[in-house]
C-alpha cells in the first residue's frame, strides 16, 4: 500500500516537472522594427563610431578609450563557479538602436515598439498613469521612452536616459561617472565603460523624497547584439528614491552578452532602494542559447546615516555573474542585500554581494536564498570586509540553498575579512532539499504536493520578496512560480 502511494506521488511529480519544463519563456518574441546598427567587431573605431552616433563630448570619448585600452590588457575572470564558453568579442554588434523619429511625444514612437512594451506589460503610456511608476524603457542600445519626466521635474528630480543626461546635465554626469565603479574595476566593467550605449540617469536633489517609484525596463531585441547599459543613481543629502529594474530578451539559439554597470551614490541621510527582477532569456531546456549576464553593480554610502538596500529576484539568464555591493563609508550607514536566485535546466548563477565596512558603526545584512533545479548550478559568493580602524561594524549574513532534484548543485563561498576587533560578524548557511516531512504535513491537511511545494518555496523566499516594492513583488512571485513550481523531483 505504501509503495503504491509512493508510486502515485512520483507520478504527480513527473507531471509537474513536465508542466514546468514545458512552460515556455513568455517574453521570447522578436519585435520587427527597423534597427540602426553598426558593424560587428570591437576596435577604437567602433568606440569612436558609438560616441559619434550619440554626439558625445570629447571627455566621454576619452573615458571610453581609456577603458578600452585598459580592457585590452585584462583577462576574462575565471574564478567563479561557472563554465563560461569562450566569447568572441569581435562577433558582437556593439550598437543597435530601433530607428525612430526624435521626439518626446508618445504618438511619435514607432507603433511596433509600443506594441512590444504593451506585450511586456510595461506602463509606458501616460494613460497607465494609475500605476504610478515612472518608466525608462531601453531597447537594445538606446532609451526608447521615459515617462513622467515632467511630473518629476517639478520636484527637481532628474530621471532620463543616460544620453540625455550627458547632453543636458554634463556636470552631474562628469562629477559622478566612474566614481563607484572605475573603468579599470574589472574585465566586464572596462568593456562596458568602453562601449556602453545607454541606460538611466537619476538625480534626486537635496531633501527630496521621490514621489513615485522609478523603473527601467531593458530589452535586448536585435540579433547578435550585446547590451551594455549604464545606470547612474545619485541621491543627494536627505533624498529618497526607490528604483526598479526589469529585463527580458527574445528566444534565440545563440548566446547574447549583457554587461552592465550600475553605480549608486547615496549621500548623508539619503536612502536608495534598488530592486531588480532579472528575467533575461535563460536558454532552452537543453541549455542552448540564453543571455550571459555579467553585471557590475555597486553603491556607496558616502555620508552619515546613508542607507542602500538591494533586492533582487534572479530567474533568467544562461549565466549570471553579478555581485551588487556596497561601500559603507559614512558613519552609521546601513546596507541590506536581499536576493532570491533561481536556476533551472542548464542555467548557471554565481551571485552574491560585497559589504565593505569603512565608516564607524556601519551595519549590513545579507539574506540570500538560492534555489536550484534541473542540471543547474547556483552559487552564492559574498565578501564582508571590515577595514582596520572601522569601529563597531556589524554584519549578519544568512545564505540558504534549496535543492530541487539530484542533478543540480548549490554552492556557498563566503569570505569574511575582519581587521578590527570591535566588529561583530556572523555568517550562517544551510543547504537542504524540501523535507519530505514538510510535504507530508501539508498533504495530510489536504494540500496537494504541488501546492505544498509552492507554499514552502513562497515561505522560503518570503524574507526577500517582502522587501520588493509592491508592484514587483507580484511579478516576482509569478516568476518564481513559473520557474520552479513542481520541479521538485
Amino acid at each position: 500500500m505504501l509503495q503504491a502511494v509512493v508510486a502515485f506521488e512520483s507520478r504527480i511529480m513527473e507531471n509537474i516537472i513536465e508542466e514546468v519544463t514545458g512552460s515556455d519563456y513568455k517574453y521570447g518574441f522578436v519585435t520587427h522594427v527597423e534597427t540602426d546598427t553598426i558593424e560587428k567587431g570591437l576596435s577604437e573605431e567602433t568606440i569612436r563610431a558609438i560616441s559619434a552616433k550619440k554626439g558625445e563630448p570629447e571627455w566621454l570619448l576619452e573615458f571610453r578609450l581609456k577603458a578600452y585600452r585598459k580592457w585590452l590588457t585584462m583577462k576574462m575572470p575565471r574564478w567563479a563557479q561557472l563554465d563560461i564558453p569562450e566569447i568572441d568579442y569581435q562577433d558582437i554588434v556593439y550598437y543597435a538602436a530601433p530607428k525612430q523619429k526624435a521626439g518626446k511625444d508618445w504618438k511619435d514612437v514607432d507603433p511596433e515598439l509600443k506594441k512590444t512594451f504593451d506585450k511586456l506589460g510595461i506602463p509606458l503610456t501616460e494613460q497607465m498613469a494609475l500605476s504610478g511608476v515612472a518608466v525608462d524603457a531601453v531597447m537594445d542600445s538606446v532609451s526608447v521612452k521615459t515617462t513622467f519626466q515632467e511630473t518629476l521635474a517639478e520636484r527637481g528630480v532628474i530621471f532620463c536616459s543616460f544620453s540625455e543626461a550627458v547632453k543636458n546635465h554634463p556636470d552631474l554626469v562628469k562629477k559622478y561617472l566612474g566614481t563607484v565603479v572605475p573603468y579599470a574595476d574589472n574585465y566586464f566593467a572596462a568593456l562596458n565603460s568602453a562601449v556602453f550605449s545607454d541606460g538611466s540617469f537619476v538625480y534626486i536633489p537635496k531633501g527630496v523624497r521621490c514621489p513615485m517609484e522609478l523603473s527601467t525596463y531593458f530589452r535586448i531585441n536585435a540579433q547578435n547584439t550585446g547590451q551594455f547599459e549604464r545606470t547612474l543613481i545619485v541621491a543627494d543629502e536627505e533624498a529618497y528614491v526607490s528604483y526598479l529594474e526589469g529585463c527580458t530578451a527574445p528566444q534565440r539559439d545563440e548566446n547574447q552578452l549583457h554587461a552592465a554597470i550600475v553605480e549608486i551614490i547615496v549621500e548623508k541621510n539619503a536612502e536608495v532602494k534598488y530592486s531588480t527582477v532579472q528575467n533575461w532569456y535563460p536558454g532552452d531546456k537543453e541549455g542552448k542559447g540564453g543571455i550571459y549576464n555579467f553585471v557590475t553593480k555597486r553603491g556607496i554610502c558616502r555620508g552619515e546615516n546613508a542607507r542602500l538596500t538591494w533586492a533582487q529576484v534572479e530567474t533568467g539568464s544562461a549565466i549570471t555573474w553579478k555581485y551588487p555591493s556596497t561601500i559603507l563609508k559614512g558613519d552609521n550607514s546601513v546596507s541590506e542585500f536581499y536576493s532570491v536566485a533561481v536556476t533551472n535546466n542548464y542555467q548557471q548563477a554565481d551571485t552574491g554581494t560585497k559589504m565593505i565596512h569603512i565608516g564607524n558603526n556601519t551595519r549590513s545584512r545579507i539574506v540570500s536564498k538560492g534555489i536550484s533545479a534541473g542540471y543547474s548550478s547556483n552559487s552564492y559568493r559574498g565578501k564582508v570586509k571590515v577595514v582596520k580602524g572601522c569601529k563597531g561594524a556589524r554584519n549578519y549574513s544568512q545564505c540558504d540553498s534549496l535543492l530541487l532534484g539530484d542533478k543540480c548543485g548549490a554552492h556557498t563561498f563566503p569570505y569574511l575579512e575582519i581587521e578590527d576587533s570591535s566588529a561583530q560578524v556572523e555568517h550562517e548557511a544551510t543547504t537542504s532539499k524540501i523535507g519530505e516531512d514538510q510535504i507530508f504535513y501539508c498533504n495530510q491537511r489536504g494540500i496537494s504536493t504541488e501546492d505544498a511545494v509552492g507554499l514552502i518555496i513562497k515561505g522560503y523566499a518570503g524574507d526577500v520578496l517582502n522587501k520588493m516594492p509592491m508592484e514587483f513583488a507580484v511579478e516576482a512571485q509569478k516568476l518564481l512560480q513559473i520557474s520552479l513550481e513542481g520541479s521538485i523531483g
Binding site: L403, D406, S432
Partner: protein
C-alpha cells in the same frame, strides 16, 4: 626575477643537484614518484602564492629565507629521559621521536602486538614494498591543487610508518614527537604513513616542538588510510616558537564506516599552515575535525580543510575556534564538497573567532560545494568580542577584570578541548591552554614538557 620565481628556481636547482642523494636509503616506492611529484609542483605554479587555496597566506617571506636543507640523516643526541622526565605522568604512551623530519635512531621498539609495524619510513619502503605500492602517495593526488604536498613527495626522505593490521586494537596511544634542532636555519621535510586495517583502532598523538632558536621551515605530510570500520583518534599539539614555520598536511582516506576524529591544538608558532584533506570514500564514513588556535604577537595560523563526500550516508563535523591577540592573523578556509551521488550526507562546519586586540585580524572562508540534493549541510562563521553581558555577570560577582576575561576565553577554548577523549591528555591541554592564555607559555620557546621544569 621576483622573489617567488627565485624561490621556485632554487627548488628546481636543489631538486636537480640533490636528486641522487634524495634517493639514498629510500625504497623504490618513494623514489619512483619523486620526479612526477616535482613536475606537478612546478605545473601547479610552485610555491602557491595568491592561489585561491592560499589566498590569505603570504608564503614568500616564509620560503624566502636562506635555509639549509639536509639530505641525509645526521645523528642527534637527544636524551629521551631528559625530554620525558617531566611529561604527563598519567598519560602512558608509546613514544616515537623524529628529529628534523628523520626517524630518531635511538627510538625504542614499543611493546605492541607482533603484527603491528612501527618503523622509519625508509625502512618500511624497503621491507614492505607491497604495502608501499598500495598506499604511498595515493592521497596526495587528491590534493591536486596543493603544490606543497607534491613538494613533500618530491623531497621527503624519512618519517614514521605505522601499520595496524585488521582487527587489532591498540590500547595505549602512540605519540609521535617531532623535534627540531639545528645549528643553522633549516628547512626539513617529513613524511608519515599511517595505515589502519579493517576494524583496527588506534589513537595517535602528534607533538611538534622546537629545541633550538634557529629559523625552521617544516613541510610535513601525513597520509592516513582507514580501511573499513577502522577508527583513528588523532590529536596534534603544535607548540613551537616564533621563528618556526610549519606546513602541515594531513591527507586522510576513509573506507566504509571508518572514523577519523581529529583535534588540533595550535598554541605557538611563527607561521602555521594546516591542510586537512579528508576523502570519505565509502558509505557510512565519518570524520570530525576540531581545532583551537591561540595566537598573539605577529603569528599567523592558517587552517585549511577540504572534506570530500564521495559516497552516500557519510557524516562530517568541523569546528575551529580561535583567540587572537596583538597583531596575530588567523585564516580559516574550509570546503565541504558533496559529490553528485553522495545522498544523505550530513556535513556541518563552524568557525568562531574571538578578537581581543585592535590589530588582530581574521579571514574566514567557509564554503559549501554541493551537487546532491538529499543532504543536510550547514556552515557558520563568527567574528566577535567577549560577550559584555557575560562579563558583567562575572564582574558583578566580584571577579576581577583580568580574571573574568581569562574565564571567558578559557570557556571559549574549552568547547573544543572537551572533545579530547583521553582524560590525562585533556587535563594537560587544558593546563597548557590556560597558561597560554595567561601569556606564561610564550616566555618559554621550548617544548611543552620543559615548561613544567
Amino acid at each position: 626575477m621576483n622573489d617567488l620565481e627565485k624561490i621556485n628556481a632554487d627548488f628546481a636547482a636543489l631538486f636537480e643537484a640533490g636528486y641522487e642523494q634524495l634517493q639514498a636509503g629510500c625504497g623504490m616506492g618513494m623514489n619512483a614518484v619523486r620526479k612526477a611529484a616535482f613536475e606537478h609542483f612546478k605545473a601547479a605554479g610552485g610555491v602557491p602564492q595568491g592561489k585561491e587555496e592560499y589566498v590569505y597566506a603570504n608564503l614568500v617571506p616564509v620560503f624566502g629565507r636562506d635555509y639549509n636543507v639536509v639530505l641525509r640523516y645526521i645523528r642527534q643526541d637527544v636524551d629521551l629521559n631528559e625530554i620525558f622526565h617531566c611529561a604527563v605522568t598519567d598519560l602512558v604512551t608509546d613514544p616515537i621521536l623524529t628529529v628534523n623530519g628523520w626517524w630518531f635512531d635511538g627510538n625504542l621498539q614499543p611493546e605492541l602486538p607482533e603484527e603491528v609495524v612501527i618503523c622509519s619510513l625508509q625502512e618500511a619502503s624497503l621491507r614492505y614494498p607491497d604495502l608501499f605500492l598500495k598506499y604511498y602517495n595515493r592521497n596526495v593526488p587528491a590534493a591536486a591543487k596543493d603544490g606543497l604536498a607534491s613538494l613533500n613527495t618530491a623531497f621527503a626522505q624519512d618519517g614514521v610508518f605505522i601499520y595496524v593490521p585488521d582487527e587489532v586494537v591498540l590500547e595505549r596511544p602512540l605519540q609521535i614527537i617531532n623535534l627540531l634542532r639545528a645549528k643553522g636555519d633549516l628547512m626539513a621535510f617529513q613524511r608519515n604513513l599511517v595505515i589502519l586495517g579493517r576494524h583496527a583502532k588506534a589513537t595517535l598523538l602528534v607533538c611538534d616542538h622546537t629545541l633550538s632558536k634557529q629559523s625552521f621551515l617544516v613541510n610535513n605530510a601525513t597520509e592516513i588510510f582507514l580501511e573499513d570500520n577502522a577508527h583513528l583518534d588523532y590529536y596534534q599539539v603544535q607548540n613551537q616558537y616564533l621563528g618556526a614555520s610549519q606546513i602541515n598536511s594531513v591527507l586522510v582516506s576513509e573506507g566504509k564506516n571508518a572514523n577519523f576524529d581529529s583535534t588540533l591544538v595550535t598554541l605557538y608558532g611563527g607561521f602555521i599552515r594546516n591542510n586537512f584533506y579528508v576523502a570519505l570514500n565509502d558509505e557510512g564514513a565519518e570524520t570530525g575535525l576540531y581545532g583551537i588556535y591561540i595566537s598573539d604577537k605577529n603569528q599567523v595560523v592558517d587552517n585549511f580543510s577540504y572534506i570530500d563526500h564521495v559516497s552516500p550516508r557519510c557524516r562530517s563535523n568541523e569546528h575551529f575556534k580561535g583567540v587572537l591577540d596583538d597583531a596575530a592573523t588567523a585564516n580559516f578556509s574550509g570546503c565541504i564538497r558533496v559529490r553528485p551521488d553522495a545522498q544523505k550526507t550530513e556535513a556541518y562546519q563552524a568557525n568562531n573567532n574571538l578578537l581581543i586586540s585592535d590589530t588582530a585580524r581574521v579571514n574566514s572562508k567557509p564554503q559549501l560545494v554541493i551537487d546532491a540534493d538529499d543532504v543536510k549541510c550547514s556552515h557558520g562563521a563568527t567574528v566577535g568580542q567577549i560577550d559584555e553581558e557575560a562579563m558583567f555577570y562575572l564582574r558583578s560577582r566580584g571577579i576581577g577584570l583580568e580574571e573574568a576575561r581569562m574565564m571567558m576565553m578559557f570557556g571559549f577554548a574549552h568547547d573544543i578541548i572537551q572533545r579530547v577523549k583521553l582524560d590525562p591528555l585533556r587535563e594537560q591541554i587544558d593546563m597548557l591552554v590556560e597558561k597560554r592564555l595567561r601569556g606564561e607559555l610564550s616566555k618559554c620557546y621550548n617544548c611543552m614538557m620543559q615548561c613544567r621544569k
